[in-house]
């Protein structure tokens, strides 16, 4: 996991722990799942662009 994703997750976790209402805590708990999904999609998209760019059969 890269540093930015780690910071985002940690920040959302802290916010969830310090939340003043159930709804706020739930929001930041669920935000962690969004952060992970976005990071995964980003990694996959970067990988696919790299893969297609360096595929010599398509040059």
């Amino acid at each position: 996991m890269d540093d930015t994703t780690e910071w985002l997750l940690k920040t959302a976790q802290t916010q969830a722990e310090q939340a003043k209402s159930y709804e706020e805590a739930a929001f930041f708990m669920a935000l962690q799942t969004f952060i992970q999904t976005q990071a995964k999609r980003l990694e996959q998209a970067e990988g696919e662009v790299d893969g297609r760019t360096w595929d010599h059969e398509r040059w």
Partner: protein, 220 residues
């Protein structure tokens, strides 16, 4: 977007699932939560007026013997008349959502599963109703075994439900991202501003990569 949630449940106060969903919808400004069993006998003109005002209609109910409870059937029979919903096509262009909960695991509802029938098959009459009345059907939001859900699963459900009631295309990741960013934009906490900016930059990067991929695929 104005959303009308039509809840069919004979014992609402005894349903932890419905109480949870009701509390999740309470902070949402443009959402009306309407409990059918408390509104019987139906004031048909008022019910129809509420439907006309909504941009999204959500039918919410537990599965009883593979179908909705009686109040939803009665409401459809009384309110969704031919003269109201079919011939004039007054509801055309609105969206129809379905929020359905059940006490078996999700995997029970599939071919070869414990129930041997899929949720899509059971909800097929609502797809037919949407087709007939010109409504755009959303993929159903299903809630399996709420009683056994962990805190994390419930947190995810709260957000998923709020998005289902308020986001134009709640199943699309880009639309979900826009929802998160919009929620975070209301914060004055500097840490959250940095967090929101970072998520926005990542989303922009993701959309730019998807654009590049679409162009690369076009060249294939």
């Amino acid at each position: 977007m104005k959303t009308l949630v039509i809840v069919s449940h004979p014992e609402l106060s005894n349903s932890p699932t419905q109480q949870f969903l009701k509390a999740s919808a309470t902070p949402l400004a443009d959402v009306t939560w309407h409990h059918l069993d408390a509104a019987q006998p139906f004031a048909v003109a008022e019910e129809q007026a509420q439907l006309l005002k909504a941009d999204r209609i959500v039918l919410e109910f537990p599965l009883y013997w593979y179908a909705a409870p009686a109040s939803l059937h009665q409401w459809l029979a009384d309110v969704w008349t031919d003269e109201f919903a079919v011939r004039p096509q007054q509801l055309r262009g609105k969206s129809l959502g379905l929020v359905v909960n059940f006490s078996q695991p999700e995997k029970a509802y599939q071919l070869g599963g414990a129930e041997g029938v899929s949720i899509s098959e059971l909800l097929a009459p609502y797809a037919a109703l949407a087709r007939k009345t010109g409504l755009k059907l959303l993929a159903p939001l299903t809630i399996a075994q709420f009683a056994y859900q962990t805190e994390k699963q419930r947190a995810a459900l709260l957000v998923q439900y709020q998005q289902y009631l308020t986001v134009d295309q709640p199943q699309h990741f880009d639309a979900q991202a826009a929802w998160w960013l919009q929620q975070l934009a209301n914060s004055t906490d500097p840490t959250l501003t940095i967090l929101a900016d970072t998520l926005q930059q990542r989303q922009d990067r993701l959309e730019s990569l998807q654009q590049t991929l679409a162009e690369l695929k076009q060249g294939d």
